[in-house]
């Protein structure tokens, strides 16, 4: 390449940037990148921005909690735990089953459950998913600790398929309601294995701001509050406890940590346990917020959360929080201003671009070997 003066180089780079933006504006139009419509939308109903901000923050809160699981595991054994999204999905199913025990039918024929049951339901969901995730590590990853990375990744993909099938077959238990009244609580599973399951209504959907044009519901507050509590708790645990210190040491250098007397296997299992418990909590949050769960949802949610973790800098807990919020907002604004059916494509595009241009993410440190 010929040498240009710095000023010319800057000019060329600017021209290239303009050309790329121009091309994106043309090619992006079928995918909803339509300037006129976007400007029009903002001019006519500017409150949409605030509304999507709230929706994005709530969705982002759930994504953050899932992304933390990815980031913890990647930080410690450099594995993209592909099965994590499915653990989240099973967390939602566990939450649904826990809620089903306290479900009653309303006058209108819908299903409802009290709030204390939902809050209590976090415990089984987190417990089951934590143990499940630790079990997956023991069964599918531990033996491969010293194998090539790809072998572990493929094992993780296999695990995610197994879990997805478990989620599918859980639906079969809905048929037990025909057997007798003792199985009546399983009606939440419906009669079709693969169909989405509806959560009983726990929180009222009325607008907390009264008749104001912007809606804030109790679910928004609950999801954001829970996410905040979980994040603070995790941060405290990792920064202030002995086990947290051991986790950080293992993440930094596994061999050195082992030499200092840290039981590395135990710490890795603990990391999976915590990540799984968070996924379980996210499952409950998802169910309360969206009111539905389906056995295929782990894949998309997992990919979005993984994108969030990478965006923030994988292996970095604060990065996962930042990335999760950003992805939640991006998805919400894409739903409003671009096109709902293209949102997944935009999120994946962001993932690809981040990995290509800044594989260490927004808050990650430079490290030569990870990408």
């Amino acid at each position: 390449m010929p040498q240009f003066s710095p000023a010319t180089q800057r000019l060329l780079r600017t021209l290239l940037g303009v050309a790329v933006i121009y091309l994106a504006l043309i090619l992006g139009q079928p995918a909803g990148l339509d300037l006129v419509r976007i400007v029009d939308d903002i001019r006519t109903t500017p409150t949409n921005i605030v509304q999507q901000l709230i929706i994005g923050l709530s969705n982002g809160a759930i994504i953050v909690i899932i992304a933390l699981g990815y980031t913890l595991v990647y930080g410690i054994i450099e594995l993209v735990n592909f099965a994590h999204g499915e653990v989240f999905m099973l967390g939602a199913f566990t939450a649904l089953l826990a809620l089903s025990l306290f479900t009653s039918t309303t006058a209108a024929g819908g299903l409802t459950a009290p709030l204390w049951a939902a809050l209590l339901g976090f415990i089984p969901a987190m417990l089951v998913c934590g143990l499940l995730n630790a079990g997956i590590e023991r069964l599918a990853y531990r033996r491969l600790r010293n194998s090539p990375k790809l072998a572990v990744l493929i094992s993780a993909i296999g695990m995610s398929f197994i879990l997805q099938n478990v989620g599918l077959q859980l639906g079969a238990f809905g048929k037990l309601t025909q057997v007798g009244p003792q199985f009546e609580f399983l009606r939440v599973l419906g009669s079709n294995n693969a169909a989405p399951k509806s959560f009983p209504v726990v929180l009222s959907t009325e607008n907390l701001l009264g008749d104001f044009i912007i809606r804030v519901t109790a679910a928004d507050l609950l999801v954001m509050g829970t996410a905040l509590v979980l994040m603070l708790a995790l941060n405290w645990f990792v920064q202030n406890t002995r086990l947290g210190k051991a986790m950080r040491a293992t993440a930094q250098n596994r061999d050195a940590a082992a030499m200092m007397g840290i039981n590395v296997d135990q710490i890795i299992a603990l990391t999976f346990l915590i990540g799984g418990a968070l996924a379980g909590a996210a499952g409950m949050m998802f169910g309360l917020y969206n009111g539905t769960a389906v056995f295929t949802m782990g894949f998309t949610a997992g990919l979005r959360s993984f994108t969030a973790a990478v965006l923030g800098g994988i292996g970095n807990i604060r990065g996962a929080a930042l990335g999760g919020v950003l992805i939640g907002l991006l998805a919400a604004f894409s739903d409003q201003y671009l096109a709902v059916r293209w949102t997944n494509a935009w999120v994946f595009l962001i993932l690809v671009l981040v990995l290509l241009f800044r594989p260490t993410g927004l808050l990650g440190q430079e490290s030569g070997d990870k990408a």
Partner: protein
Amino acid sequence: MKQKLLTNAEIIGILLMGFVALITGGWSVVILVVLLGALVGVNVPAQPGAWRRAVLPGLISALAVVLVTVFHNTVIAGLPKQEHIPPASTSFLVYLGSLGLGTAVAVGVAALRSAPDPRVRRFGLLGLLLVCAVAFPFFEQYAQLFWANAIIVAMIFALQALGLNIVAGYAGMLDLGYVAFFAIGGYTIAMLNSPQFNLQISFWLVIWIAAAAAALFGLLLGAPVIPLRGDYLAIVTLGFGEIVPIVFRNLNAVKIAEPLSELAALVFGRPELALCLAGCVEPLNITNGTDGINPIGRPVLPGVAFVTGQYIPWYFLILTLLAVSVFFISRLRRSRMGRAWVAIREDELAANSMGIDLVRTKLAAFMLGAMFSGFAGAFYGSYVSFVSPDAFDFSISVIVLCMVILGGTGSIVGVLLGGFIIKVADLLLLDKLQVVLGGVLQATIFQGIQNQGMQNFLESLFNASQYKLLLFGIILVTMMQFRPQGLVPSTTERGH
């Protein structure tokens, strides 16, 4: 040292074929004994007089399969809700003939493999394979097995697996979005040979265009991801694999305006300033959205009718494609390029310092891998006569990856074998298993359970066709734990 009666491979083969015989029965015994005989023959050490050592294991394994078939035909076929077994297949002569055929194949393969003349070895085995491959569809039609569709789809997937094997097996790059190229191949033929745009370009030309389009996208998608390594590469390709079907799903109402003029129109409040580039009168429908495109044109060949339900022409077409691909890829593997791929896989730094151009070599692998998937996609589109975005989801990428890993990463024979095992199990055996399991449940447990709800529940829980994902998952996990090199490891890796 005392000779063992049966080797481990033979025992596994007998168990596998016996299981298939248990749930299929009828005429399938003929095919199963031939397959098992071939396995036994290949398994005997190739040395002079090997055929004598193949007689006994050949006889035992054929006998096992025949006995299981007799069990199916007499006991299982009598259970409720079972498929019909042709009466001609249950005669004593068929059993005796299968026994002889299985033993003969075992002895014949062993004898050919240990023949002193290398040309006899090579062409004899190829000839035998050819005879079996040619005889299969006619026998299948006569015996009314209804296996042809599964075998054709299995070959389509085997073609894809061969392509992925170039990327993942030879060059060592894990591509989790391989379905993108399959989709591109399928949609290329769907747009060029269907009523969608009223184009009727001949199949024989379109299949090359489809392969070229897939290769082009392989280049476009591959170029930016080449610098990435390991799991990051896997995730980025997965992202592409997700984006491509979304694009096909959503390109059904395209309208594009020139952005600058549009902006000007907005600022000055004069809509007539906006220039329209495409889809001005009414939005362009390129891919017909979720409804997909159909009917897609069929190949035209004088004297041969390619229609739905007539499987033999399709069978020979895909067989030819597969055979040509195997020939091409095996030559490619031994070429300078093929050796460079393996060198990169084993040690990128060392390969680079030996003067291998990393970017060009990896891109070539990406393009060639995509090309085979494009071929497969075009054939698939024409064979099914219908493409829709739902047919190209992530599970296809994983199934093809399963095939490569199960068979043996980097080994052509292994990948073909893996492809057949997985797709035949997926399309054929799980359904048959479901029928048999249903019958067994009906005849045993259900006798004691009067509650209809409980019966419905058990039937739905033991619905074997819903356990596909579980099957793939178990294959991936167990292979990684216990035999990461696959069933038939490639020769270059056997030494390790």
